[in-house]
């Protein structure tokens, strides 16, 4: 089963879509934006280069968690690879648990790379404890998105899952303020943003870099979404693999 997990990680890392969109894109965006605005004061009361770091790490993590779950999973169901696995002694729960674990693991490169570039190129510095807290919340906070990805992969065909995942990543990034602060978009937009897991996910990161603490509202919203999407993913997974 460990080897199964290893091959799951390997195949995603070998996939160009994953590497380009999810790992390199946020880093490149960060470099460009931070190069221009890095020294200005940022929205959360921190230097813009720090604010942007959380934004881009969040965007990368969001993309990684959905891209490494939704599309491969939808493809496997369709292509018959899933049947291959189901006729081996690997139990059904092990398949989904492995997918979840690997998707979570693949969130890490996006986070770490953006952090590394921020430190090296923009000279961002924080106490070690705060780095650890930031990495922890931004990593664990990605759980709802992995669940969402698996739910999409269980529900849709590969042709539909691909655009659906891309669209959701964009929408959630936009609404979550991962590209630019939602404040600039006006009232209605902000009210919608308040409901999304991505807005509060980014909020977790901003609170940590600004104060070292967390806002209860962010924690509750992300956890709530995590539970809701996890439940949906589990239900849809069962429905997609049930033996007729």
């Amino acid at each position: 089963m460990l080897y199964y997990a290893w091959t799951e990680a390997l195949r995603t890392l070998r996939n160009r879509r994953y590497t380009i969109f999810v790992v390199l894109f946020p880093v490149a965006l960060y470099l460009i934006n931070a190069g221009i605005y890095g020294d200005q004061p940022g929205a959360a009361g921190v230097r813009q280069s720090v604010y942007l770091m959380v934004q881009m790490a969040g965007y990368g993590a969001l993309g990684a968690s959905m891209m490494s779950s939704a599309v491969p999973w939808a493809q496997e169901r369709r292509s018959g690879w899933l049947s291959h696995l189901r006729i081996t002694p690997l139990p059904g729960w092990a398949i989904v648990v492995t997918k979840l674990a690997i998707a979570m693991l693949l969130v890490l490169p996006s986070l770490v790379l953006v952090f590394a570039v921020a430190v090296l190129q923009q000279g961002v510095s924080m106490p070690l404890g705060r780095w650890a807290a930031l990495a922890a919340v931004m990593w664990l906070g990605a759980i709802p998105f992995v669940a969402l990805g698996l739910a999409i992969g269980s529900l849709l065909s590969p042709e539909a899952a691909q655009p659906a995942a891309v669209l959701l990543v964009f929408a959630l990034s936009l609404l979550g303020g991962l590209w630019f602060p939602v404040e600039v978009m006006g009232g209605t937009f902000q009210a919608i943003a308040e409901l999304t897991p991505s807005y509060h996910y980014a909020g977790l990161g901003w609170s940590v870099v600004a104060s070292g603490g967390l806002a209860l509202g962010d924690v509750l919203t992300v956890t709530g979404w995590g539970i809701a999407l996890g439940g949906a993913a589990a239900y849809l997974y069962r429905r997609a693999t049930v033996r007729a």
Binding site: M1, Y3, Y4, T7, L10, R11, T12, R14, N15, E76, S79, G80, W81, S83, H84, R86, I87, T88, P89, L90, P91, R243, A244
Partner: protein, 292 residues
Amino acid sequence: MNAIVFDHVSKRFGDVLAVDELSLTIAAGATVALLGPNGAGKSTSIGMLLALSRPTRGTIAVHGRTPERAVLAGEVGAMLQQGELIPELSVRELVELVRRLYPAPLGLAEVLELAGLTELARRRAGGLSGGQAQRVRFALALAGAPRLLLLDEPTAAMDVESRRRFWDSMRAYAAGGRTVLFASHYLAEAEEHADRVIVIAGGRVVADGTAAQIKAGAGGQVVRFALGEQPAAGLDRLPGVTAVEVGAGIATLRTRDTDATLAALYRDTALDVRDLELSGLDEAFLALTGRS
């Protein structure tokens, strides 16, 4: 112990009754062909044996347990009719992945050798040809050293050389006392490689026995040769022959026992037999499966 028992198994997909009250028993260690035309219910039966789907009615036992348990215990390996591989992984990684999921698998080198993949081990699955991918599926089926090997149209997409190697490997694998069930469209393939042939059509068993029994039951084989101006008298008295037709200098004999007929044709007649042809496998198969 019986490897496989179907007890009045039916499977319905909406309006289609894919498998209809199927009952059969396959002893452990046998190599059995499941023969039938398109839509006969072969893949559906194999799917139920693998717990990929459940019978609508009836029960299936694999080594005395439910298919689910047999699969989880690593007793079954299969080559499915459809089923793509993961394009980003190499042949070796795919084989290793499946191999390690079983409790007592074959060695990696042995699997690659049996499936004729040693040279292709480092290739990514995404770049394989149809026949090569089929060989990888074979490798995945036997990687775990399952006691029961199910092969759904295993030689589809394989060239002549791959086919020959495939059947050699299949025999080598089966020789260890393992049970093999393969689905096929061709009586010739079944005759050559199986101890027993089960013919199904419309989800029911229409014939069951050795290939020779099946052919005999379906009106036998055909022996055809150029007779020219020679007399046809006596041909109908050759052993096994059930019917004789002569036309345009060609004699066509229908026989229940090809070997006996041919032996007598050469030994007991003074005929000059030219352009001899044996056929009738396809006719026998059509006669059987067209009936239902």
